[in-house]
Symmetry: C2
Subunit: 458 residues, 2 copies
């Protein structure tokens, strides 16, 4: 990169907030994707304002410098992995929860704020931001970029259902505001929704208005072992249609449960005998502002699960429940520690989960590999750890599993995104007419192709 | 229009399904906008399949024929008002509810199906499609085009929160599918969300996958007269934060209540004395699968309203509640019958409603006109009937009211859309950088500008 360009970047954010060469740590070279090799950028800039972001983009556009945005780097698809010749904009200094507005039940947040920070600030107001991916160190900006989901999506929806407005900087340097503190608007194309999930390729988000919910006073967690995975899947629509509105509805297969139990030293009180006869577990979270109503919902849910073949239903106490949920959140780390070669999150209609899982297992066996997993059963979002050392075989296995998901009416990813890790599969499997349209939309935002080139598509 | 082009359209849909000249009835010349003059199209085509829609668009694009889509024509902004030189595609024959899928809790619907039809089919399965604008004769395709909202949006969200996937025909003739029977997906830009609310300017929707909810067994409606509008507005966030999750939360000002009561012969049991001391009413709908829980929520809601200054709280019986809700739905017709010159639906953060309403009244008085209204109080979505005969004064009044809404952090329209009726105001008040971006997005979809030219912007 030209020295004059670097000097201009330094002028914009200040010398101390611009990193080059040896001052760039390994952290900036990667996110948590298991398959994207780390790659350091030429420059890291840490802006403090939207105006600085705008000046950075204008300069980058003028010199054809590729730009990657980075929140906490906890993404799983390589969307925050920078280009060697590029500028990495780290939002670590734009990390404030600017406002928690109890009357309108919204918070105004900078992109670098973590979910943990937002959780703390909203809890103090008796409110909650309900998007709850496994990683509370994730930045709000990152969750917008990837349209993050997580366990509570079954009740509250994913990021796109919970973001009401944005401030964003276009690659042309213009700063726009979309949406606002309102839950509806009908004035032209919804730019908020278009930017959410665009993985840093359309605009850089500098402020996010999120929707908050009242925080229910009481919650409970039920754990039910099932001898058969199909029964787990059959229980899911029954629980949903019962109207108890669970905020967590997760399945965990026996191998994953063994791994997370071991790693996190979980004591769930499940006897060896039951455990050995269990193919998968269902974890159901319930919440209510009223203790009696919660008890009624627990009873009803336990009845449904027993009717549908659960060998038992355990009511976890607060501490046990928290530990189990935290362990489930760490399933990715457990898979990584166990030597998983990749982690994917295909989404299918929930009726298709048993068939899809069976097909994925068959494909893995045929490829001399294995899949184990857990997932957001209420959403049909299956998180699979892929074990298959041979790179070429693994590529074909992934292709076939993604194709099976699409054939079942689903998509390659429910919440992790495409990033760099899955773009080859996306290019191979997505409708060419849609791909061409996505490229034209990209062009409408970013005519010089400076924002995250090589993410989503080449 | 060239005879050869008309002949080609006839070949595509069949002679009997193509109308020209005197065979085109007045209905096809308009929607329910109060300010857009009727205008008959050159041709009306009634396709039966997406393939026919595709062939119509390919032909239209080849000959530069402007195309307008029409569902039931119940829109309020002129988005379905055709061009004199254009083709109107009426979806009246593509009107089937193709599937109600109870396991995945979705329905697959053709765009010409009415909400009434969808209501009937989903009710039979114990489910509900919860988007509930005033007009049940509205087509599903029309509600997608305008991102329709309605009373139940306070609990269930608007159209964009309840549509999971689309089949759509691009102006280039390509038929694409977006989303699916899943509640989440993270694979590139969300085309479903981009097409929703685009008022027929980006693509023509030929199939819609909507989200369904369990239908609660019990419901109740409370009516509370308040001596002061500000107290109504103060009660709204309190009811929402109480956690009772009302599915209806409407305010109706005294003049509107008088008009709809008179038109619909409502007997609400409110004494003359109370009525004369009332500035506005709050209508709260509650629902639950459990009768006891519903009773508890009613009590809680009544307490909150009494504490906040309601002169009384009436529990309406089933018949009375239905009549009131139906009457409220017909507020537009009451306004029209009363000689309203326009009807608008500015949305503001709900905390800003009192200030915005006061400002709108001041502006109307200064313009020697008047505003009366009702609205979705939980959403900050204010429906105002505008009385101001002088066209120039009215134009300025609307401009000033829209500007006041935007200044309060809101938008010109919460659910009616921009269409043709408000595009001048949209052009004058929207950020030019955003308008330019919307035009580039339009260009990405519709390079020949054949879909609804003159809607949203010129």
């Amino acid at each position: 990169m030209d020295d004059a360009v670097v000097a201009r970047f330094a002028e914009i954010v200040g010398e101390s907030e611009l990193l080059t060469g040896g001052r760039i740590s390994e952290d900036y070279a990667r996110d948590e994707s298991l398959t994207c090799e780390p790659r350091k950028p030429a420059v890291v800039a840490k802006p403090a304002t939207a105006a600085e972001v705008s000046a950075l983009l204008t300069t980058a556009a003028g010199h054809g410098v590729p730009v990657t945005a980075r929140g906490s780097g906890s993404g799983l698809s390589g969307a925050a992995r920078p280009r060697e010749d590029g500028l990495l904009i780290s939002f670590e200094r734009m990390n404030a929860v600017l406002e928690v507005d109890a009357v309108n039940q919204v918070a105004v947040v900078q992109p670098g704020a973590t979910l943990a920070e937002l959780e703390q600030k909203t809890a103090a107001a008796g409110l909650a931001y309900t998007v709850y991916p496994g990683e509370l160190s994730a930045s709000v900006g990152g969750t917008v970029g990837t349209n993050a989901g997580g366990m509570r999506a079954v009740k509250y929806g994913v990021t796109r259902n919970n973001v009401l407005g944005l401030e964003a900087v276009l690659p042309t340097g213009e700063v726009i505001r979309t949406g606002g503190k309102t839950s509806k608007v009908s004035t032209g194309y919804d730019l908020t929704q278009l930017i959410i999930g665009s993985e840093g390729t359309l605009a850089l988000v500098t402020e996010v208005i999120v929707k908050l919910y009242p925080r229910p006073a009481h919650s409970a967690t039920l754990l039910a072992p099932f001898p058969d995975l199909d029964n787990v899947m059959a229980a899911v629509p029954r629980i949903i249609s019962s109207g108890v509105a669970p905020d967590i509805l997760e399945y965990i297969d026996n191998l994953t449960m063994a791994a997370i139990s071991h790693n996190e030293k979980l004591e769930l009180g499940v006897s060896d005998e039951v455990r050995d006869a269990t193919q998968a577990y269902l974890v159901v979270g319930l919440e209510n502002r009223d203790r009696d109503r919660l008890d009624g919902d627990m009873l009803r849910t336990a009845e449904v699960m027993s009717e549908l073949g659960a060998s038992d239903v355990y009511v976890l106490d607060g501490g046990g429940a928290r530990k189990l949920i935290e362990a489930r959140e760490k399933a990715f780390w457990a898979a990584k520690a166990a030597g998983a070669d990749d982690v994917i999150d295909v989404v299918v209609p929930r009726s298709e989960m048993p068939g899809f899982l069976a097909r994925a297992r068959e494909l893995a066996t045929a490829a001399e590999g294995g899949v184990v997993g857990c997932g957001h059963a209420g959403d049909g979002n299956v998180h699979l750890a892929i074990f298959c050392k041979d790179a070429a075989k693994r590529h074909k296995l992934l292709h076939d599993i993604f194709a099976a998901g699409i054939a079942a009416g689903g998509a390659i990813s429910g919440e992790h995104g495409i990033g760099q890790a899955k773009k080859d599969h996306f290019a191979a499997l997505e409708d060419p007419a849609k791909l061409a349209l996505l490229r034209r939309v990209k062009q409408a935002f970013d005519p010089r192709n400076i924002l995250n080139p090589g993410v989503l598509f080449d």
